[in-house]
């Protein structure tokens, strides 16, 4: 283990990390995986919406939005 894991939402704005675990229920995470968000995938936290939710991330070169509540279940490991 090179670095600590943390929820995706606690990354700094603009920071990139690697997905280490997706704690969402298998039945609900199907579409998330199909959109390319898998364990081992690089993600970047782009921004939060003006009212704090949802969150915008960059994954495999495109932009995706998720609710903060769901994004908190995605754990990442910082690149450094």
């Amino acid at each position: 283990m090179s670095a600590e894991t943390q929820p995706l939402t606690s990354l700094k704005i603009g920071a990139a990390a690697t997905v280490s675990e997706i704690k969402l229920h298998p039945e609900h995470r199907g579409r998330l995986l199909e959109m390319g968000l898998l364990v081992g995938t690089q993600v970047q936290l782009v921004r939060f919406a003006p009212m704090g939710d949802p969150v915008e991330i960059k994954v495999r070169g495109y932009h995706l939005t998720l609710r903060r509540h769901d994004a908190e279940q995605i754990w990442v490991r910082s690149a450094d």
Binding site: P26, E27, H28, R29, G30, R31, L32, L33, E34, M35, G36, L38, V39, R47, A49, P50, M51, G52, D53, P54, E56, R60, G61, Y62, H63, L64, T65, L66, R67, D70
Partner: protein
């Protein structure tokens, strides 16, 4: 509401055999090229380029998923080809109704859909990896396939140069690089399509793009043996990795798939995730091999725009600004063409009136037909502008940002940002809005969105608001626009409130998960935007020429008959006194209906003549305008001077028995509030019935909206009176 694919049990998913019969078929039916791909891959632009903007839009039986078909431009004379545009899809494991249709067409589960002779997968070169996920699933189905590698210009701008030849080799199918929006590469694609349709290149073996654990691969092989057709492996993989794919196969196969999943689970394999991971591993490798990545710009154009458009303060300001500009534009820019149209109908009425001798026929033609239909058609410029605005918001990619900004608010009422798009579309018309709910994954949320969507003020309310505002609101364009905007806001607020109520009571459920792409901004193609505006406006005109014309003729009869002593048919034609005419209307069938509901609407400040308008506009809201035009014209008799005046003017002059105006400011606002909330639209009721597959929901919707309209109107009128208005 669930799709029920018309499955013929035991039928092989893809009939490879029939492909060899194609030359015999060609003489009878045109061959079908299916266009598929991810949302935002430029599929629609390509479809327009291939078919020359002449699409036939229909629906799949039982659902309102749009079925867009067009004739292929440039097919050889003896080889007619049609292009079928499928809704944008991320995967063959559907999450929404839209995606279900794509799967069912491609897996041949829809009896009505033609057998695809060729599949063109549109792939966004600037977002290659995720696009290849779906493309590789389609290739595995074994159809003759072409990859249209679109948006190569955008890809190069961000430093991604894709080698089409290498990609073709990796995928085992032809790849045509192109830019659909400029037409670059279009000729080559068309050539390739004709070439492939004429003589499909034999595909030696259908490749697999999914690296599976050995145990999983073995299960796929076992299950594939039970399925016939060239796509048996692809289908077995889909069955094993998606437990919801139950309607897909025979009982025997379903049971075998379930048993296979159980075995995998025991072996510690996540069958839901393994297939997805395996496929991404494979397409990711392909993407890296075929893309020469140079350093792109640090920040793309979209990134820079988004920095402002989704900014905490600027983003909200821009959103409200866009809405405000939209309504101001609709008001001010549309005025001139509307005046011209009004003049045209007036002149036509006068001209025709002179050709026909005075009497019933003249009245019917001039007042019932020309002025009645004219009163509605006059609003065409406003409606065109509204459709153009909504279309541009969709085409540029702003709509997704609006959903991003508004999601928090939507989640507060238990819906998600995706419900915002159908609601925004409902500003144009509830019908496309309700159809847009097909992208919402969960049934309950879809239903809630359908139930509240017609509360958004649609374009058919626009004529009603405009006439009432013009008739009774003092002040300039700013006050008038503000009034208009508040009617729209009222609809929005009530819609959100009702959504919250429904999610708490009737349709309880968790707030759904949001997984939404924010596509890069695109410059909209004006030609296409105008075309769409025209297509949608045409529906409005057609309605004016059919339904509304019919209602007008009927209404004229109802407002003119039965005739009583003194105004009998036999009486000499000629001008009537206003009193006579008023009595005539009062005694007519329409007058009777209006008076019958008067007790119900009197507490809202409406008289029986407005009652006629309310009753008749349960068919369609804009009928109110033509109804009032007919009602007041009939009531005023047929002296030349009155029948050519502006409706707003006539309404302003209506007086009650006590000399007070019928359309006081308060009464007009109350009437508008009623129109904001009541479900007065037969077409919406019909669409909701079709969408929900029962009469229960449209009936419920009609009743709850009617009750809401009455209560709010009552509160407005009585509250206003207490405050000393009216």
């Amino acid at each position: 509401m669930e799709m029920r694919p018309q499955l013929e049990e035991g039928r092989p998913a893809i009939e490879t055999e029939s492909r060899t019969n194609r030359p015999a078929q060609a003489k009878t039916a045109p061959l079908c090229v299916v266009l598929t791909g991810n949302p935002n891959s430029g599929k629609t632009t390509l479809f327009n380029a291939l078919t020359g903007l002449r699409a036939r839009v229909g629906n799949y039986a039982g659902v309102t998923v749009e079925r867009k078909e067009g004739r292929f431009q440039g097919s050889p004379p003896n080889l007619p080809i049609t292009v079928l545009d499928l809704p944008g899809t991320y995967s063959l494991s559907p999450q929404s109704l839209d995606e279900q249709i794509v799967r069912d067409v491609l897996l041949r589960r829809l009896a009505e859909a033609p057998l695809p002779a060729l599949v063109v997968v549109v792939v966004d070169a600037s977002n290659l990896e995720r696009n290849l996920y779906f493309a590789s699933q389609v290739i595995e189905l074994g159809y003759p396939t072409i990859i249209a590698l679109n948006m190569t210009d955008v890809a190069e701008k961000i430093g991604q140069r894709v080698d089409a030849r290498q990609l073709a080799a990796a995928l085992g199918v032809p790849v045509v690089p192109m830019v659909a929006s400029t037409g670059s590469g279009l000729k080559e694609l068309k050539q390739k399509i004709v070439e492939m349709v004429r003589a499909p290149a034999p595909r030696a073996a259908i490749p697999s793009f999914c690296r599976l654990p050995a145990a999983f691969a073995a299960e796929v092989e076992t299950l594939a043996k039970m399925i016939s057709g060239a796509s048996n492996r692809a289908e077995a993989l889909l069955l094993l990795s998606d437990e919801k794919l139950i309607s897909a196969a025979t009982m025997e196969i379903r049971q075998a798939a379930a048993a296979g999943r159980q075995r995998l689970e025991k072996g510690g394999i996540d069958w839901r995730g393994a297939a997805i991971e395996g496929r991404y591993a494979s397409v990711s490798a392909i993407q890296q091999a075929v893309t020469a990545a140079a350093d792109g710009p640090e920040e793309t154009f979209s990134d820079r725009v988004d920095r402002i458009v989704t900014h905490k303060i600027w983003g909200m300001a821009i959103f409200l600004g866009i809405m405000a500009v939209m309504f101001l534009t609709i008001f001010s820019f549309a005025q001139l063409p509307m005046d011209l149209l009004q003049g045209l109908f007036r002149a036509t009425g006068d001209f025709v009136g002179r050709l026909i001798p005075p009497g019933d026929l003249q009245e019917l033609v001039v007042k019932g037909v020309i002025q009645g239909v004219g009163a509605v058609v006059v609003f065409l410029p406003q409606i065109c502008l509204l459709f153009l605005f909504i279309g541009l918001l969709e085409d540029t990619g702003y709509m997704a940002r609006a959903a991003f900004l508004m999601d928090r608010m939507m989640s507060k009422v238990g819906l998600h940002g995706k419900s915002f798009i159908p609601m925004l579309s409902s500003f144009a018309c509830a019908i496309p809005g309700i159809m847009a709910t097909r992208t919402i994954e969960t049934r309950k949320d879809r239903l809630v969105t359908i139930l509240v969507a017609p509360l958004m003020s649609c374009s058919a309310r626009l004529p009603v608001y405009t006439v009432l505002i013009a008739a009774c609101l003092p002040g300039g364009i700013l006050v008038q626009s503000a009034t208009m905007l508040s009617m729209y806001l009222l609809g929005i607020v009530v819609a959100l409130g009702m959504a919250w109520v429904f999610k708490k009571t009737l349709l309880k459920g968790e707030t759904p998960m949001l997984v939404m792409e924010l596509p890069p901004y695109k410059r909209p193609l004006l030609r296409i935007a105008l075309r769409h505006t025209w297509d949608r406006s045409k529906l409005f005109l057609r309605r004016a020429g059919t339904v509304i014309l019919g209602i007008n003729i009927l209404l004229w009869f109802l407002a003119s008959y039965p005739r009583h002593a003194g105004t009998q048919n036999g009486s000499p034609p000629g001008p009537q006194s206003a009193a006579q005419a008023g009595a005539r209307l009062r005694g007519s069938f329409a007058g009777m209906a209006g008076r019958a509901i008067e007790p119900l609407i009197a507490p809202l400040g409406f008289d029986w003549k407005i009652g006629i308008g309310i009753v008749s506009s349960f068919a369609a809201r804009e009928v109110f305008v033509s109804t009032m035009s007919i009602v007041y014209n009939v009531a005023e008799g047929s002296d030349e001077a009155t029948h050519t005046r502006d409706l707003a003017q006539v309404m302003r002059e209506q007086k009650r028995a006590n000399g007070r105006p019928v359309y006081s400011t308060l009464a007009s606002i109350t009437l508008m509030v009623f129109y904001v909330l009541a479900l007065q639209c037969v077409s919406t009721v019909a669409v909701v019935r079709r969408e929900t597959n029962s009469w229960k929901w449209p009936l419920f919707q009609w009743l709850y909206m009617g009750a809401l309209a009455w209560v709010f109107a009552f509160a407005t009128y009585q509250g206003g009176r207490l405050l000393g208005m009216g």
